[in-house]
Amino acid sequence: MNFYIYLAIMFIVTYLIRVLPLLLINKQIENKFIRSFLAYIPYTVLGAMTFPAIFHAVGENTICGVVAAVAGVVLALCKRGLCTVAAGSAIAAYLTMIIL
């Protein structure tokens, strides 16, 4: 088993997955269902990736993850930027770890 063959496999598979759709689809899709479906995709993907994974992202401690999620949602509702919300979640998780 050679590391560089492993590396090449990871690269080629991931690269083709990313680039083939971009190369093959270069027209506007007219179908209303597909257009709507694609418009919802970014938010459903991110929602499903974030929850419940964030609750369990901080080691074994679910409470830290929940606090981080709540902090993130509150900051985002207050219209803070990406950086602030990301940092706020991490700081909230860290402070909770210290307190507990």
Partner: protein, 237 residues
């Protein structure tokens, strides 16, 4: 004008790059802990630029898994990028030629996708390049820093850094959810399915990357059936 758009892209990429520094730092630590050299860890990050796929990859590589197993794991975990590519293809400017798509498409990640697709104007190559540049550098540098110096950081600080990326996702979702209650309902549906797949033991065999695809496809399809997006809405996205 061109330089302006490049600068806007760079600026939009800063929070992503910071998030990547943190996550790739933990990847560098994990890769070295699993038995790879720091250089190998950096090479993986530069050629793959994906978190879940890379974490799964080092597990298979260091346990001597088969090439087929590695290819299949990458395919399943990263297939969501195809879905995103199809969605992004609708927003790309006409100046996005096939060679540019072939080069810049390598930088299609969850976060870069989310930011570029929520841009109100068409996505030009120069904007996309600006957007992807700092995250790419951050991902590579962070991996190297974690691989070489990770042990200097306390475990709790490393754990805390790992939630930063989810905080960024939340920051992208919430404004859209606040703006449109149909989107809100569909996102909650995706999250509900995600929780079922995560917590109900029967579904344990489904990998994280594949679970994301299932949740996103079901919820988006129901959304498209119940609340078709009108032209005005699409343009606003």
């Amino acid at each position: 004008m061109k330089r302006n758009i490049f600068a806007i892209g760079l600026r939009d990429g800063i929070p992503i790059a910071l998030g990547y520094l943190a996550v790739s730092f933990s990847f560098g630590i994990a890769a070295v802990a699993a038995g790879l050299t720091p250089i190998e860890a950096i090479l993986i990050s530069m050629t793959n630029l994906t978190s879940a796929g890379q974490f799964a990859g080092i597990g298979i590589i260091t346990s001597g898994g088969s090439y087929f197993e590695l290819a299949l794991s990458q395919f399943i975990i990263n297939l969501r990028y195809s879905l995103m590519g199809i969605s992004l293809s609708q927003k790309l400017d006409t100046s996005f030629s096939p060679p540019k798509r072939a080069v810049l498409g390598h930088a299609l990640t969850d976060e870069i996708f989310a930011v570029s697709v929520s841009r109100t104007k068409p996505v030009t190559p120069i904007y996309f390049f600006g957007l992807a540049l700092l995250p790419y550098i951050g991902w590579s540098l962070g991996t190297g820093a974690g691989a070489f110096f990770g042990e200097l950081l306390s475990a709790s600080l490393r754990d805390a850094l790992s939630v930063a990326i989810y905080g960024m996702f939340i920051a992208i979702i919430i404004p859209e959810v606040k703006k449109n209650k149909n989107t809100a309902g569909i996102v909650f549906l995706a999250i509900a399915i995600s929780c079922v797949l995560y917590y109900v033991p029967v579904f344990d065999f489904i990998s994280g990357g594949f679970a994301t695809i299932i949740c996103a496809v079901i919820a988006s399809a129901i959304g498209a059936l119940l609340f078709p997006v009108t032209e005005d809405n699409t343009n606003a996205r």
